[in-house]
């Protein structure tokens, strides 16, 4: 983008909008940080400017880490999110590839069914799902959510990946077939590598959805030592009408760090995926 004019134009067209969006994006993190570092006396004092921090303390972090099983919840959350995302990406690819690349009767109907499955709300499903989990004897194990999260993540990943698979020219695959590659080899060696940004996008979204999921985790994981962060924090830091605001904000902030790290690692690939093919190489 070529920008003409002096510093005023640059300020108006670049720095001000950028500053606004930066503020908009980072404000929740700032609020979480400030709240988690305030002593209760300051949190409840309306005479003090709420955006400023006067007497910082790490008490809420110490209490969170010593009085609750937060580290264990974080480990559980990561394990569940990573494994269910991996399962969903594999199954989603297996579902999306034929729907996007192979013509067969009923493919449009199946593609529609995939989208419709994703749209079924969780509150309709959690009781029958809980019944299945209980009958399988999987209650209070991380396996229960690792198996149920793909029920929403697979349609989501498949739906997202279908778009990427469709964007790869058929000629590339046909050339591979002419060179002697089987259908599977053409997919494995030609199409899938070209869709890496799509996998990263789907993976990040699936990971975030799995990490934040609440309802299934609430129903299936009832013991403290198998809970995930969203359920553990709510169950143990909201007590009656008393909210442990400092610890809640500390948990929210610490819980958001893994996703921020993952985003920062993959952001280039992710953006590359979004803009693939927009300009001639």
């Amino acid at each position: 983008m070529v920008m003409r004019g002096g510093w005023r134009v640059k300020l108006l067209q670049l720095w001000l909008p950028l500053g606004f969006f930066l503020l908009f994006t980072l404000f929740p993190f700032y609020w979480m940080t400030v709240t988690s570092l305030k002593p209760n006396a300051e949190l409840y004092n309306t005479q003090m400017m709420p955006l400023l921090l006067y007497h910082p303390t790490l008490k809420h972090y110490v209490d969170l880490l010593t009085q609750t099983s937060f580290l264990l919840w974080t480990w559980n959350t990561m394990l569940v999110a990573v494994v269910s995302t991996a399962i969903s990406l594999v199954l989603g690819t297996m579902l999306a590839y034929p729907l996007a690349r192979i013509n067969f009767p009923g493919s449009a109907l199946i593609a529609f069914a995939v989208a419709a499955t994703y749209l079924v709300p969780q509150p309709l499903l959690f009781i029958p799902m809980a019944d299945i989990i209980n009958r399988m004897g999987l209650g209070d194990t991380l396996t229960s959510v690792i198996l149920t999260y793909p029920t929403m993540l697979v349609p989501f990943c498949a739906w997202l990946l279908m778009g990427y698979f469709k964007s790869v020219p058929h000629e590339l695959e046909e050339a591979a077939r002419i060179d002697g590659a089987s259908h599977f080899q053409a997919m494995w060696r030609i199409v899938l590598p070209l869709c890496t940004p799509g996998f990263i996008s789907a993976g990040i979204f699936a990971f975030t959805l799995a990490q934040n999921e609440f309802l299934y985790a609430l129903i299936f994981l009832t013991k403290t030592d198998v809970r995930t962060v969203p359920v553990g924090a709510i169950a143990e830091l909201i007590r009656g009408d008393v909210f442990y605001w400092g610890q809640l904000m500390a948990a929210a902030l610490l819980g958001s760090i893994p996703v921020a790290i993952i985003y920062s690692f993959f952001v280039e690939h992710y953006v590359a995926g979004l803009t693939a093919g927009s300009v001639k190489g």
Binding site: Y44, T46, A130, M136
Partner: protein, 435 residues
């Protein structure tokens, strides 16, 4: 259990799925636990805001029961806002916990899935001074005790003694009209009231229903069918609430939840609210200067000359799907013995007011004399929806906040007749009656 046996006999496909799932994931996240043996019982509870209360059960009562009987108690905690979701899932799926905690009218909603525990209730009542009538209102369904009442989380007036004194009140006003007068003076001094009118779970019902009853109004008659929202008494109650709100109360109360008034009181924004003992309890822990000038007292009387309070009962039920119903009942019987109860109640400093007269003069009541009104309030406490008997339509009226919203709309400025007409139509529709 018969169903489970049938399932077990014909479940090869399910067995395959279970083995496959466990095989695929077991090495990563552990093999799924087998169904609880009869020597383990799961006791589902709400996370008490008093951590010592839960700690007392986990560190004292559960080990004691294990030592005495060999039965392990898994004390499962969930937050108050998610408890009913957990209970519903357990009820619908047939497993998940053996002994469940109930709030409000749940023994009536789930009575078909709860074991009759009348024998335990009568035995406990006889041995410990008898039950308050309020206890029976909360758990006796069609003549059968479907839960053992544990304690009442009373909702009373919490107020700033020093600020009321500043405007000439040495004791809390006795009637709603007097409270309105005091509120106007306090508001002028920059100390408004703060009464929840949003979609919380207790503090909204905690003052709206008692206010309504004290004006002689209610939504359905005691016959359980005659809808009387649109009445002269209700009109007077709604008119009063509007004046009360507009002249004394913080405007954002319309969007409050149960935590909002605690926060507003502890941040010294409001001079009076309706709440459980939690405000004083947290003030004593974190804000001793506020605790020193905080009073707790009964709700004011209305034009009928009577005062009322909301009944917010905690009770325990044995689930019909329990792994061992006899063992679960035995645990409940053991839990309700004085050796266990006294210490457990005391760990919460009377926050859960016992429904047994045997505890009327217990030591924990004298630990904080300002809590005594919570004991007194039991005599005039009723479930939301009273005097109509608890029913599913009534529960729906409460769950949809029909009455709360009627008052909230009026407080927001809507016409009394209009809001009553709308609420009357909503209640009739829920009860399946023509408008």
């Amino acid at each position: 259990m018969a169903n489970r046996d049938m399932v077990g006999a014909t479940s090869s496909r399910r067995d395959f799925l279970r083995v496959a799932a466990a095989g695929a994931l077991g090495t990563v996240v552990g093999v799924p636990a087998a169904r609880a043996a009869p020597t383990t019982l799961t006791f589902l509870h709400d996370s008490s805001f008093i951590r010592d209360f839960d700690a007392y059960f986990q560190n004292q009562l559960a080990p004691r029961y294990l030592k005495e009987t060999g039965t392990k108690i898994d004390y499962e905690l969930t937050s108050v806002g998610t408890l009913q979701t957990r209970v519903s899932a357990i009820i619908e799926t047939g497993s998940g916990a053996d002994v469940l905690l109930n709030n409000f009218n749940w023994p009536f909603l789930y009575d078909e899935k709860y074991v009759d525990v009348s024998d335990i209730a009568e035995e406990i009542g006889k041995a410990q001074g008898g039950w308050y009538d309020a206890a029976k209102e909360a758990v006796v369904v069609n003549g059968k005790w479907k839960a053992i009442p544990f304690g009442n989380i009373g909702q009373l007036m919490n107020y700033r003694i020093d600020w009321f004194h500043e405007v000439g009140y040495d004791k809390f006003p006795d009637t709603w009209e007097e409270l309105l007068e005091a509120g106007i003076k306090l508001n002028e001094k920059g100390h408004p009231f703060g009464f929840e009118l949003g979609h919380g779970f207790g503090d909204n019902h905690g003052w709206i229903y008692p206010l309504m009853w004290s004006f002689g109004a209610h939504e359905v008659e005691a016959d359980g069918t005659t809808v009387v929202v649109d009445s002269d008494e209700m009109a007077r109650a709604v008119d009063f609430a509007r004046t009360f709100f507009q002249k004394t109360t913080l405007e954002d109360c319309l969007g409050w939840n149960d935590a909002s008034n605690n926060k507003a009181y502890l941040s010294q924004q409001i001079s009076c609210t309706n709440n459980a003992e939690s405000i004083l309890w947290v003030a004593k822990r974190d804000f001793p200067e506020i605790a020193a000038v905080t009073g707790q007292t009964l709700n004011p009387k209305g034009p009928t000359g009577k005062r009322f309070h909301i009944l917010l009962p905690w009770s325990h039920s044995v689930f019909t799907g329990a792994t061992d119903i006899a063992a679960a009942k035995e645990f409940l019987r053991w839990l309700m013995q004085p050796q266990q109860l006294e210490g457990w109640y005391a760990s919460a400093e009377s926050y859960y007011a016992p429904y047994l007269h045997g505890y009327d003069n217990a030591k924990f009541w004298t630990a904080e004399p300002r809590n005594l009104p919570y004991r007194e309030s039991l005599a005039t406490s009723h479930l939301p929806g009273w005097p109509a008997p608890v029913s599913r339509p009534q529960a729906e009226v409460i769950a949809k906040y029909v009455i709360i919203d009627m008052f909230a709309k009026a407080c927001g400025g809507a016409n009394t007749k209009e809001v009553m007409k709308t609420a009357q139509a909503q209640v009739k529709q829920i009860y399946g009656q023509p408008a």
